[in-house]
Symmetry: D2
Subunit: 401 residues, 4 copies
């Protein structure tokens, strides 16, 4: 084993090729030591991982040197009254932002005291939108016409690549000679990006063959993946869902130390009007915090926090209280594949009772989405309340946030 | 110790109060076991952490039960030619998305072969924008006038709360009777959200006292924090910076297996035109992926991936090649505070030579920002190249992404 | 007649009620004189109108005192190769912006020299989106489900109010307890806002009756009418169409005094990248100018210039030249109703051969849309060329723009 | 004169060159007759204009053939309590949209009954943003640094071109190698686009000379002119101003036939939440209608309706009523130059007491802006009220809108 460092240094062995010669743990160890020597930095904590990595080095992370440990706190229990999640849940939050777990926890108490978080999924579909080049705007229209005129053929072609995936919607648009075809799929319990990319490649080939269009990129940014985009607000992506709860004046006063009209004013002047004047696509207080913490805990793709940040938070005045809701237009989640198979992340999913494939397919992912939305509701309630009571600064200085 | 579960169950002891009675490790252990019992789920991997947690339970994570392990791979080395980062770096990427490290790695090779990534920071300032209520649009104007007329007083007040923070800019706007005051601060090597929130609270009190305005929320969403917002594109937030590299036709062909004109076409039809038609604020391929992976590895706030996703990627035609760049208008980063003090995350920062306070203050955070931008450039180069060569789908099916 | 001023002054006769007692011309005259006396300002030119006003005072303008005269210039002829407009057209432009007609005229020459403007309509549908309040997010979902489950009933109900209108699409979304139902209609040769508002009122009543939802507003801003909105870019409104033309290097040099690569660079750095960095929904040079001038000339609703400004302009490199296009995602136009019946505006429509109902219904409006898009293309070509040749400032100082 | 048609037909005389040989009226007449012959369409009403056109054919409209007559109605009087407009005004509205004048009129009554519209201008500056190309992101930063380091030199250079214009602000940004310099000017009573374009050309030359940057376009779309853009919301363009009024419960009930809470609910669910879910930059009901009608009446640039549509409308609950406001972040207006010199448009400006240069310079334009904002407030009040009372559809079918 002694000659690996030398071979890595002289370039005869590539860093990423270690797994071809060594068992995973050894490959990771040799690589980490090589990096330690090259940089003179000790990486002992990174090397001190406990998760099995046979699958990880193949499916999740090339050139692995170890792992970072992200502290996990629990908030809750929170009562969730969804169509898939129905019960009481402890929410795992992986975070290093002081005060976040405490804040969500307070929101969970409030929700539970109020009888639970109502949650409903309004739409479900993972998207991919290849972009094609055409010769002219006339040719562009011909491509659109062909696509809209041959839904069955496209459906058949895409579904030949996947056991679970079902093509559920096709949208087209153009910008001059560029044609964008947005394909939406039901992807079961998988987040589905990989599945829909492969399926879209088949659709793209079919379209090119029949129309003479040239495929420019399998993703033409009209999907839109991991960029903040109004199309996801308008048309949805992944799960589109809402969570809401009625709070009585009494509950608002007791737990949040504020009033209904104050909550309403904060939400209007900050989340609605303030966001409007910032040219924002997100109309919430800090939905991204909760989405990020639950996504990292549960092995989701953390770049999808971008989509999660599109949340809108509303406060409706009501007799004797307020109805507060969050609506997440685009929450891509999965309980199989991706990071869900890493041991610690899998445990977090198990904590919520959603690891792996659901019965029927898709039900675990939906249940998980409902729980995340409830967590976002808890986070919004708590922060809005804190702002209303004007003690955000105090909370920060005490908890070191 | 035997009575803790019982006290937790009957509610006489709160879950978050365990640290008041027990040393951190024991508190975390009791709490985790309680959750295990309540849910019937084993959390043994989550419990198998190695990081010291004395500070963590105070500063980073309430109600801690353990940690998730996120696999870390390295990409590079990549040559960075910044004003703060000048040298060759291995980039730590914490991710579970197969193919990501490999993709960034390929970009790093290309950048290094081309002589390195040019990087420059164009602007630096962390922002907070309290929102105030006034009685009328006349009163709103009076508040604006007072703020714009008393910069020194506001500066003095805010800087009384911080050793490093310096107020560098004040912007005002209104929407009817709501007044938004956006304060920008130099925050040294800290990301600075906590610092600027505390400082803004003092400014807000001063403003209220002198104008009769009512403070509604310390953050009025005109900051804008963790929501995708055009104001951050227009005015910047955190670090505003660009990275660029000239690629010769030969390098494009050899490493990316494509051509200059093909790269240009992909960038135009996907990143520019496709994003435009999606109503997007991000004009890039997957900047959020790299920002997320480096942020999680290095203890940054992962909800700030939202700001990172505002990146614009450009490809300029040039004689015998192309000049490719990424511009990140809003990258909030820090090398002290937040998650930087967690052991594994600290090691990743050390790997880049940026852990802790820099000399002069702010230089470590700037160096880190320059390295992140170079990583984003690597990621964009590689994915644009892959799309140009139409093998995204193949990469996905092989690497299980 | 002598007592009218006195009755108007003492309030016993309302200014708007004059038409009830007098023939239109007299009513307008009395009203104008009253205003002249009240303000001491002579309105003799405003009073010097030639258009018949019997219908105008009933359908177009209450409290009429006369008319403003907006100068009309012609650009062209421009060759249009659309599916509805096929031939050579002089474009009427009502404007007071010096250089505009000259600029469009130059673009028309260029287009005609290049063989004409290719135009295609990709989508056609006028929209209205009522907003409803519900009791909870659960109720909100029930409303969506009812709407999506009863398309035939909704279609029947809406079409009972209109001879030409056909409901072609229904989209739903929610934000918490607010439900938005976006109804798209084919509206023949009418722009259709009135028609779809009335039809939507019927749909709204039906929905309320069946679901218990409360109608809040017949327009819930998810339509979106007369506000710049990404939904219109993504989903279209009114006519969605493109116009394009191939320009040879020779033509670019001769007419525009510039080069293909220079045109391409201006378009990328200004229309694409510049707009992106401004958080813009319009990616063009000055589409709004041409839309405004043609809309005012032709009796369209000038507030729909907002929708017209969503245009994206593209320049594709091609061997021996460039292909330039404009895509207008949302162009609401009509050739019957609204201002089309005013005599001068009717003449402008006649000039284009599109006044009144087409055969089949809708064909005149479509023909008109194709001509407007060609005008926009001419305007973009000319201004891009002027910018490329860096003589915008000179043009301005010479022509007094 | 007989040979003109022949010379026009055979191309030996260009249509735009008629003014070189003939007095304006004759040139326009010959041109119109030529068009009539070419198309077989009578343009007699277009030819029946009364406005003097000596200046018009030089400054406002090339290739003139006559004029369209746009009906003008008056709304009001409305009491305006601004810093420049202080009194009672009849608002001239040029429109063909039935019900619009009636609707604004009702709003005016309500405002006047409530004591008048409070108006304040918060910011004033016309902008132009040239775009430059640089060699690298390093060069781009150097250009920014030079610009920010030499404000006096740039100010002096720009102000050498104008008697009234004053450079008041300079903002810079980059996207890769593209550099955008946004110059804001005080432009007196002129709307100022022409003035600032000429001044910006000088600044651009200076910058190029000193930095080696290449000017790509005098407008780089970061201005942003006539495209809907968040930068104008965030930073303002032209006049940034608000108008507001307190309405008592009694007034709401009597004039609007609705209630405070109903107005509030319509505004929240439609103007705020509905616009948010549409990815809109405008959060109002129909501000563009009033801006368009007043702009056309008063000789403003109607393409600037786009900027006007960025309006945000707010309704604040208050004891015994509501405070309603509109905020227009970007209203470009002028009372000299452009279309203000056309006779009918000049009369409309006179009706408001704002034609020509004010004393001090700028005061007429500001007074006019305040009146327009009051008109927008009237329009919003009336339509919100109508929606609240659910009779929009009825108003439409009665008034033929």
């Amino acid at each position: 084993m002694d000659d690996y460092p030398q071979r890595l240094r002289d370039g005869s062995l590539k860093l990423y090729a270690l797994e071809k010669e060594l068992p995973p743990e050894d490959a990771v160890s040799v690589r980490r030591k090589f990096i330690e020597e090259e940089t003179g930095v000790s990486l002992s904590h990174i090397g001190d991982y406990s998760i099995p990595i046979d699958a990880v080095v193949k499916k999740n992370c090339e050139n692995m040197i170890g792992a970072v440990q992200v502290p996990v706190g629990v908030a809750g229990p929170v009562i969730v009254k969804g169509e898939y999640a129905d019960g009481s849940f402890y929410l795992p939050l992986a975070t290093t932002e002081g005060a976040l777990v405490a804040s969500v926890n307070r929101g969970c108490s409030l929700i539970s005291a109020a009888g639970g978080s109502e949650v409903r999924i309004l739409k479900d579909g993972m998207t991919r939108a290849p972009v094609f080049a055409t010769d002219s705007i006339i040719h562009a229209k011909q491509v659109c016409d062909w696509v809209l005129g041959n839904p069955d053929e496209i459906k058949k072609e895409t579904e030949s690549t996947t056991r679970f995936g079902k093509l559920t919607n096709v949208e087209v648009t153009t910008a001059g000679t560029s044609v964008y075809i947005r394909l939406s799929f039901f992807t079961g319990d998988a987040m589905g990006m990989n599945m829909v990319t492969i399926a879209s490649a088949k659709a793209a080939d079919l379209i090119c063959k029949n129309t003479g269009a040239r495929l420019i990129a399998l993703s033409g940014n009209w999907c839109t993946d991991k960029k903040p985009a109004a199309i996801n607000v308008v048309s949805g992506r992944g799960k589109t869902l809402s969570a809401g709860v009625f709070l009585s004046d009494d509950q608002i006063e007791k737990v949040l130390k504020t009033t209904a009209s104050s909550l309403l004013e904060v939400n209007t002047r900050k989340n609605l009007v303030g966001s409007a004047r910032a040219g924002s696509l997100g109309f919430n207080a800090h939905a991204a915090n909760i989405v990020a913490a639950m996504f990292i805990a549960c092995g989701q793709d953390p770049a999808h926090v971008v989509e999660g940040s599109l949340c809108i938070t509303t406060v409706d005045p009501a007799p004797d209280g307020v109805y507060v809701s969050v609506t997440l237009p685009a929450l891509p989640v999965g309980t199989v594949g991706g990071g869900t198979g890493v041991a610690t992340q899998g445990e977090c999913l198990q904590l919520l009772g959603v690891l792996g494939s659901g019965e029927p397919p898709g039900s675990n992912a939906k249940k998980f989405a409902e729980i995340v939305a409830s967590g976002v509701l808890a986070g919004e309630l708590s922060l809005l309340g804190a702002l209303a009571a004007q003690h955000l600064a105090r909370a920060h200085s005490t908890l070191g946030r």
